[in-house]
Amino acid sequence: MSRGNQIASSGLGRLFRGQTAVDFYGRRRIGFVIAIVVLLATVGSLFTRGLDLGLDFEGGDAWDIPASEIFGVDEAKAVLEDNGVSTNGARIQRRSSDTTDLITVQIEEVPQDNAVQITNAFAEAAGVETDDVNFSFTSSTWGGEITDKAVRALIIFLIVVSIFISIRFEWRMALAALAAMAHDVLVVVGAYSLFGFEVTPGTVIAFLTILGYSLYDTIVVFDRVRENEGKYAGVRMPYEDIVNISMNQVLMRSINTSISSIIPVISLLLIGSGLLGAVTLREFGLALLIGMISGIYSSIFVATPLLAGLKSNVGRKARRERLTGDNLRAAVIGSGVTGRVGATVGSADGESNAKGASHDDDVKTAAVLEPAGRLLTHPPRPRKKKRR
């Protein structure tokens, strides 16, 4: 308990103790500018480069080669690599029955000349005649119907979620959350387009995962905003301040959660696809990593400032300048609890004074806690005691 209420001298210490006072709202333009840049880059890239749709979406070429002791999946892969075909999007399977034993290779469509060349290379590697290698075209497996149904389901989902957020919180939060989600999906789609990654059904799943993660993260942040809104209902606190206070309060949670979410994905990338060589995990992991970083970023720098922007035009006019620096810090610390705020601040104050104000941090603490008292002379309305 002893050091709990002092203001830490280092930035990291303040972060650890939830004593940060970052003026997120004041820096909202940075977030918006970045978001617009991302949007333009994505749209531009989609128009100029497009998306590299994989085998499952566009179909491609397929070979059936007789399998033998000298020709298996690995050999087929080697042949493709020798002919300059990326094995990343290729699907190489062994298909066997009582009478046949084939290696089926499917790759994205290649020019006719290359296809002939690859056919010959397969025949040579497998030690069979060229005629024994069966070359054909293969269609997509992902029919338009799957996309149509998925898009329809997604639209319905977004409508229902907007309604849910509007009821549970308010419609402006729904709007901001959806904007942040769109931002995240755009970031990932943009990355896929810019880097020329192949889009597979797995990628679609990664997009959906990111979408869900982004919404989740935003709602956790908004829940705190909502709670603080109620807490300051009595003191006509400007919405910008409430947003700033909430953001600082959930900062440590956001960082911890981000670390916990991102470590497994990085492990997937480094260990799974790097050390253990499972290539299929690479692009998938990369998509998730980019999406999750974006998801965490957007709930702080896109969703919340946007919400504050939407709200600041409504209702309560600010009576004073936005809280910054130590004033903000005081508010962040002061309202980080349930129930009444004033009393606990007072008792903590006394405790730190009792310890002696010789330490620099203590002086700072006293300086910070004092305006908190002023700010909260009219104590926030305590939450209604329904059931306890």
């Binding site: 293969t138 997509s140 119907e145 959930v250 492990s267 299929t280 998938f284 609890v337 349930t338």
Partner: protein
Amino acid sequence: MKRRLWFSLIATVVAVIAALAGNIATSNAPILGLDLQGGLSVILAPEEGATGDDLLVVRDLVRSSLERSGVAEPDVRVQGSNIVVDLPGVKDKEEALRSVSVSGIVELRAVVNFTECSASIPAVSTDETIADGRVLGSDGTITVDGDPADEVTPPVDEESIGFLNDEAKTSFRRSAPDPDAPADSDPVGEAPIDLAPTPTPTIAGAEFLPTLDGGALCAGPSQASGEVFERDSASVQLGQFGQFSVSVDLRADGEDAWNGLATQCFNRLASCPSTGVDTDGSGRPGQIAIVLDGIVQSAPVVNVPVFDGSVSITGSFTQEEADQLSDVLNRGAFPVQVTPQETRTVSASAGGDSLRAAIIAGLIGLALVLAFLVAYYRWLALVIIGGLTVWAMAVYSAAAFVSGATNYALSLAGVTGIIVAIGVTVDSYVVFFERMKDEIRNGRTLRNAAPRSFNSTWRTIWSADLVSIIGALILFSLSVGSVRGFALYLGITTMCDLFVCFFFTRPAVLLIARSKFMVGKRAFGLEVASS
């Protein structure tokens, strides 16, 4: 209170361990997807003269039929001139062949008098569909959906009489539209436009066809195919008296063919004579037999001569029977016949190491996350470790159970999705503990802070997780294929998160907060004072 907390904690752990043990004992494991485990592949060869577009249509129809029949996430594509169907999680060749025998041409034939068939040998076909126990209510009545063009539609209340009396094989039409048209008479008034065979004593092409309930019907020649119906438009409806009906849309270019047949039957022409007697003694209109692979699926009585856009088939169906009929009408849209040729086993497409790599990477990632949390939350991290273990066991059990029940395969995408879910699950603890940290720093005791913190945390977690659950439910019910599989695993991990949070984490933390365990120990970087 304390006893309840202990009960919740112990019951949760015991239940989850029991579920896991049960799954392991019955070796019930999640089915792995094609990319991880491979499966069986069936090659379907189309009949001569199929065009590429036909094959693409068949591909979509085969896939949706498979999904409807419970084979999840099949991989269906056209390769060369064949259709290749890869089935995950199917080990038995017989089962694979049976599940892909989904195609079949649906014929629409008029039901004629038995005498027409007496010369021909009854077609005895023992298709597996009968052995499967698919029994349909053989007859029903056809009425139009919406406002018909003709005035001879039976009013709604007449229909309802039929259902209240619950007589399947009879159609109730008291208002015979044309009293001059008794059964088997020559056409009176408006003659059918086309397709009507000459009314000779023996109709060419008439033959006995078995019905699903074991009887037989004498059916005239095929006059139209299932292609008159809009693809995938058949659906089952529940009427106001609890009766099921099947409605299907007519294609713009199929409407004439259907109405040609319907008009013949409604006017009781010789090509589609009355086969029964109505309640008032007059001959009722003829029946159209819906035939799939030589078996009559349903032979409804035609109640109106002209249908406008859609057809509704009513009768005393059970829901299962109605579902089957709707499937048949949907599958009737196959433009060409395809036959299964050969079954092959398929190896995993993602390379055999991918699953192992993903699992190892996931476990290492998990270990690192736990190390980080222990470093950060110290003793309280014990709760996280326990909670994550319970969560992982619950997810595994649920996945094994669900994939056994629904055949949803776990693909590589699903595995990585679960790895991402670790982050979201850990978040519940982080939100909880950060809140407790704030409360304690502001002067509350641990004992006091824990329940308060949980209440506000639960609200947060519940709101955020509910969004995921809504997403999972909507995507699962409305989408198909791998998107559906994703929704399933999103739902499972989120539900398990909520479950563990309330029934494990809450009692565990509250009990720790009440005990003397934490006194003097460091947690969240604060030393916990005695309360």
